[in-house]
Symmetry: C2
Subunit: 379 residues, 2 copies
């Protein structure tokens, strides 16, 4: 079986390394690698390298394309073209999958090839293949997760190691966990894509990422951190998705949890995903959410699925999902701008402009947003 | 595809229920059920029932046998005979799999049929299929787990809800989590079987359950409980297996963990399994370790594997494993019988006859066992 890898960044190189050095991955040969330049990586045998994607997409001898470029439109076009040229595709691209899963799944079926994307969510955690199994016999009610290594690394440093926000961010960048522009991570957009993918699969529908509510940790300030620590909470950015008869509430937002909660012990670049299903009950999956080898391994596991000619992923947007606001009333931590504008009835306890609310509806929270410096739901 | 279920207890009935009521499980028909008597369960259509296992094993039209009797020799004989009669077999029987996995895997291969046993470990947690995936590209170094619902339920009640041992045991029996004779669970024998199965698969070798060291919670007394609580530990019965170049240390024993540790938040009948692998890094899997529907669901997922004609489990005892004592020095909590016999150099702190040791070798611990009322490793 002949393979081409698109992209030779962290993940692409990891895939090449694992394929080349794992004796049990047999009968595959990497025949082409698409790079930005020919000279960039001297570790790779130069005749393998090309900068022309057509050389790969038009090569009829290539069976499988592994897309690790992480681009948006260009990756999407390459994946689509590869499927139409009857090549199996494996991708780690959460943005493309979140935006185009329904269309690409149709194209894959029409062309009788495979499309695998285990690596698009949760790095080395086998969550997509597990979800595919779970939904064969279960209805999934709820998915929750810590799905972004960058923000979780920063929050771990702040709340468990007493490092301040900026130092934590710089450390994350230095260690390669955070992008030079980390806004998409800090705003929760990366987690929006991932919870949209998981929910689409679990509920057999199509979640538009523009419908996913998100509130990140960009506005987290020292007074929030101090208050949260002094009340023995840990802050985590959590994606959450609840399905009740195809009415789905789905959001990414900061959550305060007690130290004894399982999510509180998910540190640094680790991810956790919990799935609640009608027959299986609650399940949780934990592992490294990012990095060359965990993500590379997820891709190589997908490759083994193709080699062993196993059942394809079965995603189909059968159900029409309606996005609604979180139904349950919850308690929230609020850092208020102008206390005079706050309805006193919702206050449970108060320290200056920092409030813990009684259980309030989602509408009440959303109506207050412009008067809030920062907030977190309390679990 | 024609199915027969052997046994109509908790799990057998769950399997029948899920197969019958899950629309996505298609093209299967339960044609026979082996019960102890014909009248026992009026919920089942009577012509399906039989008390004669030969009527099932000799029926050439039956494709798949689902074994849920939980017997030892009789289940083993039925599974073996079914495989030799070229029927696919799915079993939840941890005792049979722990004792006979190597032999049954050979018989299955010779007869070109499948043998699946996801339900034998971890109830509804997809741990065996996940391990099968992980070892395709990884070497597994370590497996740890809370793998027994009964003991974990009892320990949760004692340490989180302040119920005493006997009351907790009776409650577990009342709720159907504990057998009327719970000795095998309390001694850790049930977990011995499960960690042996997981280790055999992960290390592609054969672990003899007689080689697995175990020390249960039968001797846990009020003074231990009081000491452990007052030191802010939680006690869990944990199975642990470490592989270093086919030298395997494997044991089931009580472990003291801090409240912040992930294992501390695994309550009641829930199980957790962690797997540390060279490429994937650490992974953890969490879910309901027992019960009609989680276990029944694991079996039906195996059935879907057969229906979809997917790759068989690949277990083969390729590696010769040598069992050794735990290599790492550890700290232990010891409830001592005769303090005069204890080497003072190993004591880190002491409250009457209750000792926390400095790091000591496994030999030192094992040599002291006859002078110990109860002990736990400290994590």
């Amino acid at each position: 079986m002949k393979i081409a890898i698109l992209g030779l960044g962290t993940v692409g190189y990891g895939v090449y390394d694992i394929i080349t050095n794992t004796p049990s991955v047999k009968n595959v040969e990497v025949v082409k690698i698409l790079g930005r330049s020919l000279n960039k990586n001297s570790l790779i045998n130069q005749p393998l390298m090309t900068t022309d994607y057509n050389e790969i997409l038009q090569d009829e001898t290539i069976d499988v394309i592994i897309e690790t470029m992480g681009a948006k439109d260009f990756s999407y076009q390459c994946i689509k073209q590869a499927l139409m040229n009857k090549k199996h595709v494996i991708t780690a691209n959460k943005e493309v999958i979140a935006l185009h899963l329904e269309e690409l799944s149709k194209i894959k079926e029409e062309n009788n090839v495979s499309l695998y994307y285990e690596a698009s969510v949760g790095g080395g955690i086998p969550i997509i293949s597990s979800l595919e199994e779970i939904i064969k016999t279960n209805k999934v009610f709820e998915i929750k997760g810590i799905l972004n290594g960058t923000t979780n690394f920063i929050l771990t440093k702040i709340f468990q190691e007493n490092i301040n926000f900026n130092e934590a961010l710089h450390l994350a960048q230095k260690l390669g966990f955070a992008e030079s522009d980390p806004t998409a991570d800090l705003e929760g957009l990366d987690m929006v894509r991932k919870i949209a993918i998981l929910s689409s699969i679990a509920y057999s529908g199509n979640i538009d990422i523009n419908d996913v509510y998100h509130y990140g940790i960009l506005n987290l300030k020292d007074d929030d951190i101090e208050f949260i620590k002094s009340h023995n909470y840990v802050l985590k950015l959590i994606a959450s998705s609840v399905n009740n008869l195809n009415k789905v509430s789905i959001e990414v937002e900061p959550v305060l949890i007690n130290l004894g909660n399982t999510f509180a012990s998910v540190d640094n670049e680790f991810n956790i995903i919990t799935v609640d299903a009608n027959i299986n009950g609650p399940l949780a999956f934990y592992g490294k959410g990012a990095g060359r080898f965990p993500t590379g391994n997820a891709i190589v596991n997908d490759l083994v699925r193709i080699i062993e000619n196993r059942t394809n992923y079965t995603y189909k947007a059968k159900n029409k999902l309606k996005i609604i606001n979180r139904v349950k009333e919850e308690r929230y931590y609020l850092n208020i701008k102008d206390l005079n504008l706050v309805d006193k009835k919702i206050i449970d306890s108060q320290t200056n402009n920092l409030i813990i609310t009684r259980k309030i509806s989602r509408d009440v929270l959303l109506n207050m947003l412009c008067n809030i410096n920062f907030y977190a739901r309390i679990l």
